[in-house]
């Protein structure tokens, strides 16, 4: 933490202030999930949304505009992170929701589950240095014309914490080329001024990938924890834009452009 400092929240002058409408969020809980309350707090208390927890045995997600798979250690991260959660009943319903164009956001373990489920390409391998890593990182916003990132400026660098042991994004060369070609990369680890240097990459991810979306553009996964960066007293508000973008999209029915 020492020596890293916030640039100040850029992008939306006040990402929260822009949020006017209300959407309905389902926040999934698998055995071992541990960030569901944090996500709920941000959605409900800070952004005044209608959000509730959904137990992993639920088979119907019809009533939600958006579904969030929060972080944690589903099934203890045993075998491979996300591998077992992927086979739980609620995932069928996540497929259905994705199919219908609902927004799906996977954070950290949620991202791992989405790749295991094939809703997002690639896989998250153990960190290159083999250690679990928690701390502040900077990520560069690659696209803003998506339901998840419209509250940011293109090239904006966000300060958001990570906390994971398996966040090292991998896809084979063809798949990776495809991901890049289609512009599916939304966030890359970078220096505070947006450079893609070796030291700015905390886990060895290919192409510095921190967050991607699916081809259809309604499913996103990211390793950083935006919900941990929504209040100045906790060190950053930069993560709020992800949720604000989603809410805007859901309530205004379109992607919202700032700049």
């Amino acid at each position: 933490m020492t020596g890293e400092h916030r640039e100040g929240v850029t992008g939306l002058p006040n990402p929260r202030g822009e949020v006017s409408g209300m959407a309905k969020f389902g926040v999934l809980v698998f055995p071992g999930t541990n960030c569901e309350i944090d996500v709920l707090r941000v959605l409900r208390d800070l952004l005044h949304q209608d959000a509730e927890l959904v137990w992993y045995e639920e088979r119907d997600l019809e009533r939600y505009d958006a579904v969030i798979l929060p972080g944690g250690f589903s099934y203890g991260d045993y075998l491979r992170a996300g591998a077992m959660a992927r086979w739980t009943p609620v995932i069928e319903a996540v497929y259905a929701a994705a199919e219908k164009g609902r927004l799906i956001l996977g954070i950290c373990n949620g991202f791992q589950i989405l790749t295991e489920a094939g809703l997002l390409p690639g896989a998250l391998q153990r960190n290159r240095h083999l250690r679990y890593v928690c701390g502040w990182t900077h990520v560069r916003v690659e696209r803003t014309d998506t339901p998840f990132t419209s509250a940011y400026r293109k090239g904006q660098v966000l300060r958001i914490p990570i906390s994971h042991g398996e966040g090292n994004f991998y896809a084979d060369p063809d798949a990776l080329a495809e991901i890049e070609k289609r512009g599916q990369v939304l966030l890359r680890y970078a220096t505070p001024d947006g450079q893609l240097t070796e030291t700015a990459n905390p886990n060895g991810s290919l192409h510095h990938i921190a967050g991607i979306m699916n081809k259809a553009g309604n499913v996103m996964g990211l390793m950083p924890h935006p919900e941990r960066a929504c209040e100045a007293v906790l060190g950053s508000e930069d993560g709020c834009g992800i949720f604000a973008s989603m809410i805007h999209y859901l309530t205004k029915g379109r992607v919202f452009h700032v700049g």
Partner: protein, 754 residues
Amino acid sequence: MSASLPLWAVLGLRQEEYLKICEDLGNEPSETVLRMYAVMWSEHCAYKHSKPVLRRLPTKGPHVLQGPGENAGVVDLGDGLALVFKIESHNHPSAIEPFQGAATAVGGILRDVIAMGARPVALLDSLRFGWPDEARQRYLLSGVVAGIGHYGNSMGVPTVGGEVYFDPAYSGNCLVNSMGLGLARREEIQRAIAQGPGNPILVVGARTGRDGIGGAAFASQELSGASEADRPAVQVGDPFMGKLLMEALHELYKAGGVVGVQDCGAGGLTSACVEMANRGGVGMEIDVLQVPRREEGMLPWEVMLSESQERMVVCLERGREAEAVRIFRKWGLEAAVIGVVTDDGVFRVKEGARVVAEVPVRSLADGAPEYTPDAREPAYLRPLRAFDFARLPEPEDYGDVLRKLIASPNIASRQWVYSQYDHHVRLGTVVGPGGDAALLRLPGTKKGVAVKIDGNGRYCYLNPRRGAAIAVAEAARNVVCVGAKPQAVTNNLNFGNPEKPEVYWQFVEAVEGMAEACRALGTPVTGGNVSFYNEFEGRPIYPTPTIGMVGVSPDVERHVQPGFKRPGDVIVLLGQPEGAHLGGSEYCWVIHGVVAGDAPELDLDLERRLQECVFAAIHQGIVTAAHDVAEGGLAVALAEMCIQALPEARGCRVTVPLGPGRADGQLFGETQSRVLVTVGREDVERLRNLALEHDVPIRLLGEVTADGRFRLAVLQPSPKEGAALGRSLIDLPVEALRREWQEGLERWLVPGGA
């Protein structure tokens, strides 16, 4: 194991203890009974050597809701909230299997907090290893840190602070102490009690296997090379199961009908059941056949003494069993009724219809004899205290000394350690690891909880009484430095074999010192843990009391951190203005290879005034940064404030007026009761007034600069009357210091350097 020894002796009981058991029972114990006694009367469970001494600690205060005796201590936070906290050691298991040993330490302390009805909100760890030039020490450190992360991260509990020290004294016996904090509404606090004859007793969580049988006894022996052969199967922690257990228990608490809960720790089911029954003044009957097992063919005593992890014992109101089972099943866990509360004060173990043990609860729980062994001041002390520091040459290049000190594994950044711990989860961490104390916000209020764990074994080695007092003072000082008021203490007393008079003397002295400091600072002790027999091949570790201090901040927005914030701010030293104390310093160890002298002096009254003054200054909003002076002394503290500064405030120019004593002692000595703060020029007067009001010495040292250089000069009295000579001693780029500090620990750990 010699065939000629009677079983009681093999199990580690003394003859007088065996005779007392026979007397309490009125006959000779069966094997099952004897084995239960051996565990319950082991040092680890019975505190035979420590109880009489621990009574000297102050344990009462207006905020204390629960002192020692339950699973954890509790203090009142106001607004209906209660803070639950406790510390535990897992030294021997970690020395054998660092990853699992440390992981299960975290699991254990979290279950203590959960058993109090609280939600765990934070963890801290206090670690001691031998010098990192040994591969074994690096292996232990890596394993322990990974193990702590493995459990805490998975549970979703942030590890917000801790400490790591290296000293050859811990080469054969590392220390792993883990502290847990939890929050509850006052009315949600649970007790570890069994009451109401007819009420059912359940074991919930994991199945019981043969792991860890004899763990308590193992912790009550010295380690040796031969320990490998006769140790119990290593316990493997299952944080996934631990998380499910936590969630299920909270659901159960909410459902109601819980009479009491206790974690199954050392001594397994026996200890949990007997202690619960003892607190309730009741008897209990357990049927081992009802205990869900992981292995086949377990004997009754194996079931009763297994230390399988992730289990709790619950006493419910009659009729609530089905609901409990349903809740645990929802979380994929076992919940089995294994017995019932009785009114006869007897602990009865059955295997089906057959009674295998019948013991008076009181005897098993409380009947162990207490020992007050001989205490003798160790012979090493005299020559060490008489050490002539004049023998040590004064440095030629102070900048070079500072670089070396800041890179010492005892001072350098601990980021390599805490980056492996999730310290953000739960959205409560306002100040995480890396500063002085951690600060957590309290949901729904402006308030916060500050917490720090501290203890300097080297000081205690040189002077256990003063060293322990310093540990309390320093922990409190750190808590104050983030803007909180110290409230209460939990502690872990890590010592060698108490049957050795020298070790026992250290123990008694340390407890006395801790008690004095806790009284002076108004921070009662609400609990703790004692870990004896920390020796390797006959050599005890440094006596190492670790202090876990909690404090309350009235307003988390008003917190400060060590890093400089603004160029032009004035750097002020509050507290002991002069001091050149070299004894026990990191400087003497790193630069001269010497551990000698006495621990630094401590004026507890000045300490209290200093802390009140710093607290007041922070809450008047005039302090921009604060940092206590600790290992490495004044120069290192200043350097740390530079290194952690905002980019635009990275530098300082200070002038230290030299008082009596050597210059190296004044710059690197570890004189106590000092805090460095920065304030804006316009606020210097207000700070002066506050200092005056609190009768705290104050000295302006210099200012924060923006030029990226660390400049330190001294003022020497000149031969001419009234004049002083300035002399620059250190002038270095902050970046150079930062690199040393950042890489100091990693260089040892990451192959090929940082």
